[in-house]
Amino acid sequence: MSIHPVLLQPRLLTIKNRWVRRGSRSMKEPIGLILSAGLMYAIYASTLSTLHDAKRLLPHVAIDPTLPLSVMLAALSLMIFLSAAVAAIGSLFLSKDLDLVTSAPISPREFLFAKTCEVGLSVSWMICVFGLPGLLAFGAFYDAGLLFIVTAPLLCLSFFAIAVSLGMITALVFASLIPSERGQPVLISLFLVAVASFLAFMTGGAWPNSLPTENPIHSITHLTSFATNLWLPTSHCAHAITALMKGELVVPCLAALESIGALSILGLIMRIAFTHLYDRGLSRTHQTRRFFKIHSRTAHKLSRLLLPFSSASTRAIMAKEYKVFSRDLTHTVQLGLLLGMTFLYLYNYQVLRGPANVSEDVLAIWQIFLLLSNIALGSLVVTSICSRFVFPSVSLEGQSFWLLQAAPLSTHDILRAKRKSWSIPVSCIGGVIFISGAMALDADIPLVLASCAAGIIICQGLVGLSIGLGAFFSQFEWEHSTQISTSFGSFIFMITSMIVLSLTMVPLGCMFGTYLLFPETHATPDTEILVLGVGLLCTYVVNKAVSWWALSTGAKALQPK
């Protein structure tokens, strides 16, 4: 099967033109490339250093790379699946080139193959940036030869193609089942499920605690061992890479055959799904009939009641953001998948609560680690939410951006209104994640509250950062809206947010450390407030500064040129 050049050519030429005819955006691509090269090196160096440290600490234990490789591949394939599903909805059903392509003499098979390649290309940077350096670090640690360097990435490529195919199939099924006008009811249902799950989580009724908690190492091993389940392709791929490191060829060849076999079966399923579901999905996606009738006057009055303290223009932008968000099917899909991931995270997190039969000091250090990792992991979930919904919000103005440019509003006002729009929902989601995580760990009430406050402050910082960088990397001429969240700018946002989170962990680490290791510091309510207050204040300063910098940079980039 050949890739139809007409379908992929525009994408490839766009990438080429971005480099050849950079114009006013001349520095963005090189800066992005340098940052990603830096991140790749950091992942490579830190993985290698961790492996060397582990060997130094446990000199007589042979470290089996299968488990860490399985976990790495599982996490990466989950990310790729999620991104591919969302990108596929955009590419197959919402892309602006559909009229041109579907009216051209191109066979369905060529169309599907080209769209699959397009989706694969759009998520390929994740594999390159996050997967490749980790893999090479393992190769370097185990002194694997040139054969490993050449064949391991190829093996992974066929493995990740499985995630892309699954994403395509999910998109085809989803679009044919849920028409676009049902986006709002689905969103409401998702919200109700989220509230019910949260209530169940808080009361503890629906969350059995059958997993081992005596030993934290056992808990972590138990938690991560899912990736080594034999039925998962992750496990096969990890075993094959491990075998490649040892210079064996039989296991990798078998794994490659398995991957190709699985890929062929998935390709067949995708073809069948495309043949039977695509037309139905396409017509449902473009259906404009509403499930609920919209009462514009009532909605406007309601927005004035619900957002009473904002200026008219800020309120207008906020109300517009919420309406557009709730009526966009692609947002509903992404939100559903992200909520699922969040609850999976919260469910699993409670197995790490304090181990029994250990000294007070060890318990305190373990709690500091858990509280910090709760905030760090929760922040990563918030970062994912921001990169999916908040970062694209400026670019999503698309060709309607002239309305805001011609209105009597400064670019600062526009960005501030957007930040305000997203601060409220993201802080609510973040607050729930942080407070649930801290409660699952059985932390003291002041620490639960401090975790929640820190989480909300971090959410504010991340929202400011994503709006600012979203404006800086804004692209108003997109083919379909889901392109923005998988764009290079979104990737830069993720890297920057990691750096900001690392900075934020310093004052929070000091705060939790002082509180838990030195009980005398919170002997009285005054000192308790002082310790927690100073920590939170420093966190606030870091996040406020980041948000201010990002919004200023973004506003500058959006000014008329």
């Binding site: 919209i294 006057r297 406007h300 309120r315 517009k320 309406k323 009526r327 309607s400 002239w402 011609a406």
Partner: protein
């Protein structure tokens, strides 16, 4: 009402607009004519504050657009050539959004929205999403949005694109009515019959520079074609020989 002084816009070494100076009097319709790529849309995008001039200045109702953009934009309405609106809002929600952006009082906004929707035959579509509108309906809604806050200056770029004959006729009548009520209309078009029918004054831009400006009679006197229509004079002025 609209003053452009030595307005220029360059993209690298390419000059899209070169030293354009214009004076548009209050009230009336000013037609801005030119062939494709002459610099009409670039000039209009500078007047609306979407593009920043490389040099020169723009005054709208006495406000310097570069020094005091918010005041200048507040008295301006803009109808673009392509009605790119928010597809996921209803027509009425969109107009409410515009009223809030331009700080129209809620009571006046409701009344005014009803008026413009009625005037442009969109009342029965007000609660439908814009994505379900036809091109002509979108164009009419964009016109409603430009007028809903009662602007003193109306900037219009190719207004007849996508309108059916009834819509085009209604819009032309509406422009005449607004001009009589004191609104200054800056109309960019390459439909010469529209310009001839509506314009009190006009300017012709070619390759980024103003070739001529004045009333139709002024241009007739300039070209020495006293009995010719605008089309003939326009073609003569913008012919390749003149351009070179």
């Amino acid at each position: 009402m609209i003053t452009l002084k030595n307005l220029s816009k360059s993209y690298g070494s390419f000059s899209a607009v070169k030293n354009v100076s214009l004076e548009v009097p209050t009230g009336g319709i000013f037609a801005f004519l030119g062939v494709n790529g002459a610099g009409k849309t670039t000039t209009i995008r500078m007047i609306t504050g979407i593009l920043k001039p490389t040099s020169g200045s723009i005054y709208l109702g006495g406000y310097d657009l570069l020094a005091d953009p918010l005041q200048a934009k507040a008295i301006t309405g803009y109808i673009p050539d392509r009605p790119n609106l928010y597809p996921k809002l209803t027509g009425r929600e969109f107009l409410n959004f515009i009223c809030d952006l331009y700080r129209v009082s809620p009571k006046h906004a409701e009344r005014r929205i009803d008026q413009v929707l009625e005037e442009y035959s969109l009342t029965q579509w007000q609660d439908e999403l814009i994505e379900s509108y036809s091109h002509g309906m979108k164009q009419r809604l964009a016109t409603c949005a430009a007028l809903v806050h009662d602007p003193r200056v109306l900037i219009v770029d190719e207004p007849m694109v996508g309108l059916d004959p009834h819509g085009a006729r209604n819009l032309k009548e509406a422009f005449k009515r607004y001009a009589r009520s004191g609104v200054t209309i800056f109309l960019s078009t390459h439909s010469l019959n529209v310009a001839e029918e509506l314009a009190d004054n006009l300017a012709i831009i070619h390759k980024g520079s103003i070739l001529t400006t004045g009333t139709l009679d002024d241009i007739r006197a300039l070209t020495g074609k006293h009995d010719e229509g605008l089309e003939h004079m326009f073609l003569e002025l913008t012919s390749p020989a003149v351009g070179h």
